[in-house]
């Protein structure tokens, strides 16, 4: 996708929707949200609630935590903390994406929608594809991409909700496995530079060590430490 011409904002939005349709994440997320719809059904939520939660939260792990919290009678405070911990990844993801897609003319409120649509799927695809578009069209592209990924998940939520009682137990396990499996290969695909590869490997290795050692905020501490070590190695190699 080379920027040999400048599409209109609508054109860039449509390119985003088409990129979503071509993304492998469409299949992955369709499966994931069939599982989510079935889970919402089994835990006694309405279909409307299931759909509204997808639009508002738009982060797979957080959504699973919220619905299971209700089922298990976890306190609201504990559930909110668990959701918040899983959402920490969104901060550096949004902070890494927005400088690539904004221009001097971009207003704060223009960035609210792409920030809300930022999830692993959208983040991975926009980091890869947005640089191929002219800077002033990247926000529209990201909005098209994010909404193009969200629309099929809403259909999948309905399908899962309807089919819930007919889905075998192994299917439920398989769709839950889609999230870690697709995160692994898509983040690996985007990790071309040494700093990203190192951050990925160190994050995989360090976080479980902190979790096993019962360190509070293992995800946050493991992530910051792994990312910082990877960055330090990158600086040493660049500087030497």
């Amino acid at each position: 996708m080379s920027a040999v011409y400048t599409p209109s904002s609508t054109g860039a939005f449509v390119i985003g929707v088409k990129s979503a349709a071509k993304s492998v994440f469409i299949y992955v997320m369709f499966g994931t949200f069939i599982g989510y719809g079935a889970l919402c059904h089994d835990l006694g939520f309405s279909l409307t609630w299931a759909l509204v939660s997808t639009v508002l939260i738009w982060a797979g792990p957080a959504q699973v935590i919220v619905v299971t919290a209700l089922g298990s009678g976890l306190s609201a405070g504990e559930a909110a903390i668990a959701v918040s911990l899983s959402g920490i990844r969104l901060l550096p993801m949004v902070a890494a994406l927005l400088p690539l897609i904004r221009t001097k003319a971009t207003r704060f409120w223009h960035l609210l929608l792409p920030a809300h649509l930022t999830a692993v799927s959208m983040w991975v695809e926009s980091l890869r594809m947005a640089p191929g578009l002219p800077p002033e069209r990247r926000v529209a592209f990201c909005n098209g991409l994010g909404l193009g990924l969200m629309a099929p998940t809403l259909v999948a939520t309905v399908v899962g909700f309807m089919l819930a009682q007919r889905l075998p137990a192994l299917f439920a396990a398989a769709v839950l496995f889609l999230t870690p499996m697709s995160f692994t290969v898509s983040v690996a695909r985007n990790s071309r530079e040494l700093v990203d590869k190192l951050a990925f490997i160190l994050g995989l290795a360090l976080t479980p060590v902190f979790a096993l050692a019962k360190v509070d905020l293992a995800l946050l501490i493991g992530g910051v430490l792994a990312g910082t070590i990877a960055f330090a190695v990158h600086r040493l190699r660049e500087g030497a």
Binding site: V24, R89, M93, V185
Partner: protein, 114 residues
């Protein structure tokens, strides 16, 4: 803080427990992004931290998974991720092949190793 999610009603619980604790990070991301330039070294660090946190989430989802995935043996879950990753590399970094191979390995493994 002792109120259960059920006491709040489903939509209030959704906003207080689901939406706000998650969305706060996106809004903070917008604020922090204001001080970052495209191509700056600080952005490289931020991206490295994002990648590492994601890797940590992957590790947690595989090692202590939610719901029905916990019924599949740990060795099957870990082996399936490795098979998926190797297939991804062999298939010239195809995400589709990687996910397909990993999922197939998980389902087969769960059937063989109940």
């Amino acid at each position: 803080m002792t109120a259960t999610v059920r006491d709040l009603g489903p939509y209030l619980a959704l906003v207080l427990v689901g939406f706000l604790p998650n969305e706060i990070w996106r809004v903070l991301g917008i604020v922090i992004a204001r001080g970052l330039d495209e191509g700056s070294e600080l952005l490289v660090w931020v991206r490295a931290v994002a990648t590492a946190v994601l890797a940590g989430i992957i590790a947690q989802l595989v090692l202590s998974p939610p719901g029905a995935l916990a019924t599949v043996a740990l060795v099957v879950r870990v082996t399936a991720v490795i098979i998926g990753f190797v297939a991804f590399l062999i298939a010239r970094r195809s995400v589709f092949i990687g996910v397909l191979a990993g999922e197939s390995a998980l389902v087969l493994g769960a059937l063989i190793w109940p």
